[in-house]
Symmetry: C2
Subunit: 297 residues, 2 copies
């Protein structure tokens, strides 16, 4: 009996290990998170859902963002993913609770992991945040950092270097998304735009900057050149790190490299430009991107 | 009996003259067309519908764009507009027939009026078109110009100056929309972007350029500086000209300046940034912008 249970548990665990990691984003940007995921956890398979028909989420109400995100995450859950990463900053800010209610598997957003990483990284306590106008105005990163500082050492084991006051400087960089999608990663115009957007952060003498938008890792070089001594936090990469820790805790890492395609990509609307932008963000050929019609579409 | 009919006809005509002009766009951009409309026809009232919840249309299928456009135009028709202007280039390219089927009043798109204006304007026959990637790739302007040339002098009375071969050079300028929305109408970065996008048109020595996107009139100064001897055709302004001619033909111009608000603005999703962008595009305070939930939303 004891043996039976053990072998059944082993079987279940072995089934789970081979399940994919689900990654959701409102559009194409989350593929920068998948890029990090594939680099960091090369044995894992990924099922990606990009809600390209309804992107951007940033200017939609919280109720709408929650409804849309849940619908997309349900699609991933039907495909039996073992963990869900919400790569979209807006969805992470507005829909985490709703998604956690419907998900039987762990759900990881980008905001808390990036906020924790920034607090671990910063020495001076002067932390910058850049994102879309909606993300910056939502105050989600600012509130999360404040929350972590208040609960410091209680709920989570965040090793915070900051001992002095934390000062947060947040700037919206709306033109970064179209520049990243256009592929002008280091055009002179991109540099001029970056200098203008990042000037207040330079003046504020930040030592750590959260890239609070899935697209921004594509502009890392130009951002780093404008802010040379600043540690850049890739929010998607930090979320992958937290997902990795969860897989480790639960012992459900994939044991060997999958023989299946590494990334199954589903999108709610396929534009002609999608594949080229997607593969640039991902860093390798995508293979397939299947259009899926959603119920609420 | 004769008199009765006449007075009844006068009454009906008088009711129609006081009805508004409906303007539809996929988002905020169509307000540049409303700006021209208010300048050119100051007595007319305008009911504007911007489908801000589902913008952009450019990456959606023809069936989706037609369904969305018809739904929005029905909203305008319920408010008894006397003519409908489709300010959106994508909707003009993909949904004109569908809208004309459901509309009891005349419907004016932007593509044919702008194509005719370009053919009237050009001396050399070297005509440029700029728009979103979707508009340029749709080939709608190119096909319409070809169509007008083939039917020259038959169906429509277009006085075409061009006697030699017409050559069309089309360029997508995807970053122009976010620059216009961001309000960077004449930033050094905008200038660099314009120089790069417009270089092939400069080399091709065009004498006429169709601004095939509602946002581009906001960047007229920088475009004109890069292409100093080129006549710029504002597609929204040309559509207003055609609507004006229809009102004239039917004798249904507003006879005096309305005492009501000039522009009633309805949108399907109201972002925090909407009002400031809208008023910049419109050139005067908007007063109100009411959010409307659509059935297919």
């Amino acid at each position: 009996m004891q043996n039976d249970r053990k072998s059944s548990s082993n079987l279940a665990s072995s089934t789970i290990t081979s399940q994919a990691i689900g990654v959701f984003d409102s559009g194409v940007g989350g593929l920068t998170t998948v890029r990090k995921l594939v680099n960091m956890l090369p044995n894992e398979r990924v099922i990606y859902f990009g809600d390209t028909a309804r992107v951007p989420y940033g200017n939609k109400t919280a109720a709408t963002v929650s409804a849309y995100t849940c619908e997309c995450v349900e699609f991933l859950l039907e495909r039996e993913v073992k963990v869900v990463i919400i790569a979209c900053n807006t969805a992470s800010a507005l829909a985490m609770e709703a998604v956690q209610r419907i998900s039987p598997v762990p759900v990881v957003g980008v905001i808390t992991p990036a906020a924790e990483a920034a607090l671990r990284s910063s020495r001076s306590g002067r932390i910058g945040i850049i994102g879309t106008r909606a993300t910056v105005q939502s105050g989600a990163y600012q509130a999360t950092i404040k929350n972590i500082l208040e609960k410091q050492g209680l709920e989570r084991d965040v090793e915070i270097n900051v001992e002095i006051n934390v000062e947060i400087i947040a700037e919206a960089c709306p033109l970064f998304v179209p520049f990243a999608e256009e592929g002008w990663h280091y055009h002179p115009a991109t540099r001029l735009v970056a200098e203008e957007y990042l000037a207040p952060l330079k003046i504020a003498n930040i030592d750590t900057l959260i890239l609070g938008c899935t697209h921004y890792p594509m502009l890392t070089d130009v951002i780093q050149d404008v802010l040379p001594n600043v540690r850049l936090i890739n929010s998607g990469e930090e979320a992958v790190g937290v997902a990795d820790a969860i897989l480790h805790e639960q012992g459900i890492h994939a044991q060997e490299r999958s023989l299946h395609r590494i990334v199954d990509c589903y999108i709610s609307d396929k534009s002609t430009a999608f594949m080229s932008v997607a593969e640039r963000f991902l860093g390798f050929p995508l293979g397939m991107a299947q259009e899926v019609r959603l119920k609420k579409w």
